[in-house]
């Protein structure tokens, strides 16, 4: 199922917005060069809201303890280990579309 999160401009460059779904909060990021990524809004470390982090390059730094998460893969960068769930995302006709999946699917991967 694809969700329409609104126009691309609703997400600031080098910033993020939270997409509230019934299953979980999804963090939508927009990089300086307008690439859009969607991650479960939970840092694999202690569940920090990644959407509140600082976006740089293709990474976001978690606001709680500075873990650096790769937006494309959801993986923490060295020396930290762990990954957060990613969601498929497209920009189609100027709108940001996110593919939502079952709640069960991101329970395990979000740790």
């Amino acid at each position: 199922m694809w969700l329409d999160a609104g126009p691309l401009d609703s997400i600031p460059r080098r910033g993020a917005r939270v997409l509230r779904t019934t299953q979980a909060d999804i963090a939508l990021f927009r990089t300086a060069d307008d690439a859009v990524y969607a991650l479960l809004d939970r840092c694999p470390h202690r569940g920090g809201p990644l959407s509140q982090g600082l976006v740089h390059g293709r990474c976001v730094t978690c606001p709680l303890h500075d873990w650096v998460i790769d937006l494309a893969t959801g993986e923490a960068s060295e020396p930290d280990e762990g990954e957060t769930a990613t969601f498929e995302v497209r920009v189609h006709a100027g709108r940001v579309l996110v593919r939502a999946i079952d709640a069960a699917a991101f329970d395990g991967r979000g740790r």
Partner: protein
């Protein structure tokens, strides 16, 4: 990425620490620029030569000290010719060749041929059983000859000789050291320290012949005719020996460079870009001579490697300007440290401390109010600190009387880091932010072959958050790598995104009129186009400080607390602190806060350490609403979330207190009204106490006022941080107006000079109290100019961020997106 054919060819001659480090740095900067070929005379990958002594002493194995194995070269597409010695460089044809006639063409050549051990030209030096001490083969030969009860003679009582002697003794040998001078390690130690060292080594069972010269090495009789049997000293004494180690020094290996016509003196001559006379040929490491100096320690070699990599990567901006070096002896249980010019001349003074009973000796050589050299014996915990003061040329007048007693006795901000890390157990937590303990860091340094602070940060996370443990981590690096490791160069880049220091960046911003973050990054050739979470907030502040009223704040370069104007808490909710001027409130205000707290179901209301009220547990979406209500009740933001002026703590002063001398409450309110809204390198707290009883604790604040009958005592640079630092006394003034002017000038000086995330305490320890006094107290024109710039900045800064957001600014920061179902994308 360049197509493979267009790649240039880089040949490295010398597979040692300096050359390979240069390649590593180059691959970081420009991974695809060159096809790289490495020639190494030794038949293996690259190993950590500094740690040969621990291998000899059986504290480590050869495997432990490998830095890069053959696979490392293969994975990076580097051709490794291990065991192939380059014998000729054809500079006209740009080609190197080896003894067997093979070779490789180059566009750029990097020489890192290291040095060769000096072999004394005395009879018998060719005998079997005579070894030098330079590479792993020497260690293997020594290890093979060593057996309990056998005798070794080490010629040379310098650093290497003593390490060899120690290693052989640990392998059970009976060792005698023959040294030409009266003093051991005379290039690093003065006579008293050298004597203490010799006595301590004698107590451990080593034998010494001081001021003695080896005249000949004698072979054994009969079947042992080709083998060493004894060393004859001048004067006739013979020392029986099954093994002789010559450790009398090293000499830059310039044979290859000289043979192809490159100008050489003691070493290959290079300029500040590490270029030789031939522009296609660079040289680094022990083989080079730069501004008259040759280096044999790892830290300067790594600095050189960084510079040469920068030029090979065609960036062309790095310069090498020489290094200050320090030395430690890698003999377990013997603490010796030395740095700089440790023998005083006519213009310098010596400060010494001697405690024969404890076996402690310290000497500092001081000239023009700066440390020029240091020798420490027995107690070396402050070595890194003295070295830092020396490298940074820090004026010492402010703490000279306590200097010899060490850093612990001169006050410490807690951000500079203490040096007493040696005595901590492995379980001691070094980095409180990331929960990294000492053992973890030490293990990572040895197991993962880490040399620099950045590498430790990357691999362990220690020192990578607030940075207050940086000093401790540097000390651990120095202690763990031991020996000739010295702390990284004084020039520390802001972060991994750039080669420039905070000061260089700020200077470029003002000098070249750079007015946006992207302009700074472009102009200074940032490595990461977008920066990182460390440099972006710093740049944002530097621009804001440099161009008040002109620079437009970049909210995406602020960390969440400042972006959301509230403190993020562990569960993702926020806390809100309204400003309560000087800590004085009223029933009306308290009622308003209580009503608002109930309306938004605030779970906790807490009085903060700064006499304000903290509303904890607010949902982010509710922030603009709660701010609007607080604004309506007359409150503005307390900036409790910011690298900014936070609170001005006060006592009740003479209005109520029977001891109060001045109206401290009113003065606190005046100060807060003047300074609120100002952004700083770190958080800033003020306090005003009405009498010397100091109930407002003004002497642990960034700027504290203690009222007395005759006026106001001003104190600066205190904090209650990780390590409490009491303030330094700045001056005494007579009127409230003077307090305000001094406060503004002091804060502006800190804003202009403090490095981002450096609190006033650490800043003052870095620049010296004298400097601050000079600019803020002694020089009235300077004070007035600083205060003027502060007032000008405040004209633009005193805008309540809550009111702005409550009226709709940055609305997309606070409102989540509500999804709608969408059709399948095409």
């Amino acid at each position: 990425m360049r197509p493979r054919r267009a790649r240039r060819r880089l040949v490295l001659v010398g597979n040692g620490m300096a050359g390979v480090r240069a390649i590593e740095e180059l691959l970081e900067l420009a991974p695809n620029l060159y096809d790289i070929t490495v020639y190494g005379a030794e038949p293996h990958g690259n190993y950590n030569r500094i740690l040969l002594s621990p291998v000899l002493a059986r504290e480590k194995t050869f495997d432990d000290i490998m830095l890069n194995r053959a696979e490392w070269y293969a994975e990076r597409g580097i051709t490794l010719r291990a065991g192939a010695e380059v014998v000729c460089i054809d500079r006209a044809g740009r080609r190197v060749s080896t003894a067997d006639g093979s070779g490789a063409p180059y566009d750029r050549l990097l020489l890192a041929t290291g040095s060769t051990p000096i072999l004394l030209p005395i009879p018998g030096s060719e005998l079997d059983g005579v070894v030098t001490y330079r590479d792993i083969r020497d260690v293997e030969r020594m290890a093979a000859a060593a057996a309990p009860g056998r005798r070794a003679v080490v010629i040379g009582g310098g650093l290497l000789g003593l390490e060899a002697a120690h290693g052989l003794q640990k392998r059970g040998m009976d060792v005698t050291v023959v040294h030409l001078c009266e003093t051991l390690m005379e290039r690093q130690l003065d006579a008293p320290a050298g004597d203490l060292l010799r006595r301590s080594l004698e107590e451990r069972g080593l034998n010494f012949r001081m001021a003695a010269r080896a005249a000949a090495i004698l072979p054994g009789p009969g079947s042992r005719a080709g083998r060493v049997a004894a060393v004859r000293l001048e004067g006739g004494e013979e020392l029986a020996a099954d093994l002789v180690v010559m450790a009398v020094g090293i000499r830059p290996n310039v044979a290859l460079a000289r043979a192809c016509g490159l100008p050489c003196d003691r070493g290959v001559l290079v300029d500040d870009t590490m270029q030789t006379f031939d522009p296609a040929i660079y040289a680094v490491g022990e083989c080079v001579q730069h501004r008259g100096a040759c280096y044999g320690l790892v830290a300067p070699l790594f600095e050189q490697a960084k510079v040469v990599a920068n030029h090979l990567a065609e960036l062309g901006i790095a310069r090498y300007s020489g290094s200050a070096v320090s030395t430690k002896l890698k003999v377990t249980g013997v603490d010796v440290f030395s740095a700089g010019d440790f023998i005083a001349d006519a213009d310098s003074e010596e400060l010494t401390f001697r405690d024969a009973g404890r076996g402690v000796y310290k000497k500092l050589v001081v000239k023009d109010d700066r440390i020029r050299g240091a020798v420490l014996y027995g107690d070396t915990v402050d070595g890194a600190w003295y070295f830092k003061l020396m490298r940074d040329a820090t004026p010492i007048a402010d703490f000279r009387e306590n200097l010899l007693f060490g850093q612990a006795h001169v006050g410490d901000s807690g951000t500079a880091g203490a040096d007493a890390v040696t005595s901590l157990p492995d379980s001691a937590e070094i980095c409180g932010c990331n929960g990294v303990c000492k053992g973890e860091i030490v293990r990572a340094i040895t197991a993962k072959k880490l040399f620099t602070l950045d590498e430790v940060r990357k691999h362990t996370k220690a020192s990578s958050s607030c940075g207050s443990c940086t000093g401790l981590v540097e000390q651990l690096l120095a202690n763990t790598l031991g020996g000739d490791y010295s702390v990284p160069p004084a020039k520390k880049p802001m972060c991994a995104c750039t080669v420039h220091t905070h000061e260089e960046v700020r200077q470029a911003i003002t000098e070249y009129g750079l007015k946006t973050i992207s302009a700074v990054m472009r102009f200074l050739e940032w490595k990461m186009p977008d920066g990182c979470h460390k440099c972006r907030p710093a740049l944002n502040f530097y621009l804001l400080c440099a161009w008040p009223g002109e620079y437009e704040d970049d909210r995406h370069s602020r960390l969440i607390n400042e972006r959301a104007h509230a403190n993020i808490q562990r569960d993702g909710t926020y806390s809100v602190v309204p400003r309560i001027w000087g800590g004085v409130t009223s029933p009306h205000e308290l009622r308003a806060i209580a009503d608002i707290a109930e309306k938004y179901r605030v779970p906790t209301v807490k009085v903060t350490g700064g006499q304000r009220l903290d509303l904890l547990g607010v949902r982010k979406e509710d922030l603009p609403k709660i701010w609007r209500d607080l604004n309506a009740a007359g409150f503005v933001s307390g900036h409790a979330y910011g690298k900014a002026l936070r609170t001005v703590k006060t006592c009740v002063g003479k209005e109520w207190c029977r001891f109060g001398t001045q109206d401290s409450t009113a003065l606190g309110i005046r100060l807060e009204r003047a300074a609120w809204g100002s952004w700083h390198p770190h958080k800033v707290k003020l306090a005003v106490s009405g009498c010397p009883r100091n109930c407002a604790e003004a002497t642990i604040k960034d700027f504290g006022v203690v009222c007395v009958e005759s006026g106001y005592e001003l104190h600066v640079g205190g904090n209650g941080g990780m390590k409490v630092r009491a303030t330094d006394f700045l001056c005494k003034v007579e009127t409230e107006e003077q307090v305000l002017e001094h406060c503004g000038a002091f804060l502006q000086l800190y804003r202009e000079e403090g490095r981002y995330l450096e609190r006033t305490a650490a800043w003052i320890e870095r620049v010296g109290l004298s400097h601050v006094k000079q600019r803020v107290v002694d020089d009235a024109a300077s004070r007035s100019a600083l205060h003027g710039r502060f007032l000008e900045a405040q004209r633009h800064a005193q805008v309540d961020p809550w009111a702005e957001r409550a009226s709709g600014k940055d609305v997309n920061e606070f409102v989540p997106l509500e999804p709608a179902r969408a059709a399948e994308p095409a």
